[in-house]
């Protein structure tokens, strides 16, 4: 077994840019099967690119059909979303605002709690405690979103918000949906932020402690700023999760596409509309069917931009240390 072949000393293989071994010099011995295996492996890797191309094609082609009938400007700036009414209207602004409501409420929950948990795990918890707490916290990310949605609808709205806090609240509302959405993304933010905090070299902590700062000052003024771009990447990825989450909002946020100014009311999100439209009977190629792809394309573009920002931020910390 290979396990017995370990050498001593620290791992020489890190995430650095150098390849494991110099590939070009190892071609002395060839076996007939190797080239074939390499082709199969490369094909598997290329499949991921094909998936992306497929996603874009699958979204763009029906969306183009859609924009032949509905002008692009009307879609993006229209404030009335009523694709199934006799008096049809395809202004996507209400759906985008619905998504904005649930996302912002979710972030209000996830950012403070997620960062607090990350700072505790990285800076204060002993390794033993961390070994226990981290998997338990990550279970929050393992709970299916349909379960969160059910919990928001059946417990958070009627018992917590209405009975306990005494709020006047509709059965379907963006507040409950946003809160549980926030809980769902706590582990995303906590886990990635903790990685960023742990990656800050100990020399910085020791230096700060040596000149007399206490642990809180060290954490807040030295470690936290040093890890800021990694923490920002974590938050941005959390935003992307929140924007794309479907089942919670489909169950708890309501199915009325409307512009609300009060989070105790219900509003449909982009993903909520896609889920609702998908369960209806729309013939392939009809305007209603293509609407689903137009909203899907918008959702994809929004999350793509957010993801690229997150990836760029992560690259920056890699360069820093």
């Amino acid at each position: 077994m290979s396990v017995n072949l370990t050498t001593q000393g620290p791992s020489s293989r890190t995430t650095g840019p150098e390849p494991a071994f110099n590939a070009s010099r190892l071609h002395h011995r060839r076996r007939p099967g190797e080239a074939a295996i390499l082709i199969v492996l490369r094909g598997a890797a290329l499949l991921s690119v094909m998936v992306t191309v497929g996603i874009i094609a699958a979204l763009v082609l029906p969306a183009v059909e859609f924009f032949r009938e509905i002008s692009f400007g009307d879609f993006l700036t229209g404030t009335r979303w009523a694709p199934t009414f006799a008096d049809q209207s395809f202004g996507v602004v209400p759906l985008v605002l619905g998504t904005l409501w649930t996302t912002v409420i979710g972030l209000c929950v996830a950012v403070p709690f997620g960062l607090g948990a990350a700072v505790f795990l990285s800076e204060y918890a002993s390794p033993r405690l961390r070994k226990w707490l981290k998997p338990i916290l990550e279970l929050l990310a393992g709970v299916p979103s349909v379960v969160y949605g059910f919990f928001a609808l059946q417990f958070v709205t009627p018992y917590f918000l209405r009975d306990f806090l005494g709020m006047e609240i509709q059965p379907y509302n963006v507040l409950a949906a946003g809160i549980v959405l926030g809980v769902m993304i706590i582990p995303t933010i906590a886990s990635l932020s903790e990685d960023a905090l742990s990656a800050v070299p100990n020399a910085l902590r020791d230096g700060s402690l040596a000149i007399g700062a206490n642990r809180m000052q060290t954490t807040l003024r030295v470690v936290f700023p040093a890890a800021l771009s990694g923490i920002a990447a974590a938050v941005v990825l959390g935003i992307s999760r929140a924007v794309g989450e479907t089942m919670i909002v489909a169950l708890a946020a309501g199915t009325q596409a409307r512009m609300i100014t009060d989070p105790t009311k219900g509003a449909q999100t982009m993903t909520g509309f896609i889920a609702q439209a998908a369960t209806g009977e729309n013939p392939v190629g009809s305007l209603e069917y293509n609407t689903l792809f137009a909203v899907g394309l918008l959702l994809f573009v929004i999350t793509l931009v957010i993801n690229m920002i997150s990836i760029a931020l992560v690259r920056r910390i890699r360069e820093a240390y």
């Binding site: 002993s126 929050l140 392939v284 899907g296």
Partner: protein, 311 residues
């Protein structure tokens, strides 16, 4: 407080690459008792406690709500218009079938792609960097988009009854493929370079090195990541909604082209019905679903703690 902790292992080691250091000097006991510091610690504690309490309440409430329906009928009956007679048999079988097929289709592909990217690809070539960037993006694409992709792909093939087992497995497979590739790459990357160098120095080819040395060493890491991906697939409903899985299924799925429903879809369906009896049923089904997912998560954590090597 003490800052000079001589026992701290020098994780910076040879000074190569990024350092993942653990602040050993900052263990659980604080000698700093000033009021702001204590308040800060209390805030940190409570933010962690919030998530944990939420999880406990969620599981507790669901358990109390669903206990009355956690009976044999839940497993043996098909769903019905009457909550007292309804069960999740078709959904359970559907979940097991779709997710097994997902695993069979996705794991070999994901591991193969990860091997290529870690061991064979020349990392500074533009196309390999493109694949890299693309993978990071795919991992964060909303689940529902994979449903749209699968829907479009199936209608391209001329399949218009899209609520079929193979379609569901494809949608879930596309969803977890990037996750499997990324976690497998991390597992492979954690195998030390000496192992490769030793194998190659003894005359093994690159593929022999991968197959006989690197993969066996990376198996615990690959298994952990794969199990977590599978448990994500079990709980995912959004892409299946797009395929039209929100239908009443009162038969066992029996083949690749068979219609199906899954546990999360069945829960979604029951949750949306007005009768309270269906909500208890949904809670009971959630207990079963959470049981499956927690078991898989526990297994993954066990493998990670028990079998992971310290190189």
């Amino acid at each position: 407080m003490t800052t000079l902790d001589t026992n701290r292992p020098d994780t910076s080691g040879d000074g190569r690459g990024p350092i993942r250091s653990t602040p050993r000097s900052l263990t659980g006991r604080s000698h700093d008792k000033s009021a702001p510091s204590l308040l800060f610690l209390v805030i940190l504690w409570s933010s962690l406690a919030f998530g944990l309490i939420f999880l406990v309440v969620l599981i507790g409430v669901t358990f109390v709500d669903g206990l009355s329906r956690l009976d044999g009928a839940l497993f043996t009956n098909y769903t019905s218009a009457f909550p007292e007679r309804a069960g999740a048999r078709a959904a359970l079988l559907g979940s097991v079938m779709v997710v097994s097929l997902t695993a069979v289709m996705t794991i070999p592909l994901g591991v193969a792609a990860a091997i290529y990217l870690e061991e064979f690809a020349e990392k500074d070539k533009w196309y390999n960097r493109l694949i890299e960037l693309n993978l990071q993006n795919l991992a964060a694409v909303p689940a529902i988009i994979y449903g749209i992709l699968t829907l479009a792909f199936l209608s391209l093939l001329g399949v218009f009854r899209t609520n079929i087992v193979i379609g569901g497995a494809m949608a879930l497979g596309l969803l977890i493929l990037p996750v499997i590739i990324i976690t497998t790459r991390e597992a492979i990357r954690a195998v030390p370079g000496e192992l490769r160098d030793g194998s190659l120095a003894l005359g093994a080819t690159r593929w022999q090195t991968v197959w006989k040395q690197i993969l066996p060493s990376a198996v615990p890491g690959i298994a952990t990541g794969t199990i977590l991906a599978i448990s994500r697939a079990i709980g995912e409903a959004a892409p299946l909604l797009l395929l039209g899985a929100l239908v009443v299924v009162t038969y066992d799925p029996n083949g690749l082209m068979s219609g199906f429903t899954t546990m999360p879809i069945q829960i979604f369906n029951w949750a949306g019905l007005p009768q309270a009896g269906f909500h208890h049923l949904a809670s009971a089904a959630i207990i079963v679903l959470l049981g499956m997912i927690l078991t898989l998560n526990g297994l993954a954590i066990h493998i990670r703690n028990r079998f992971s090597h310290r190189w």
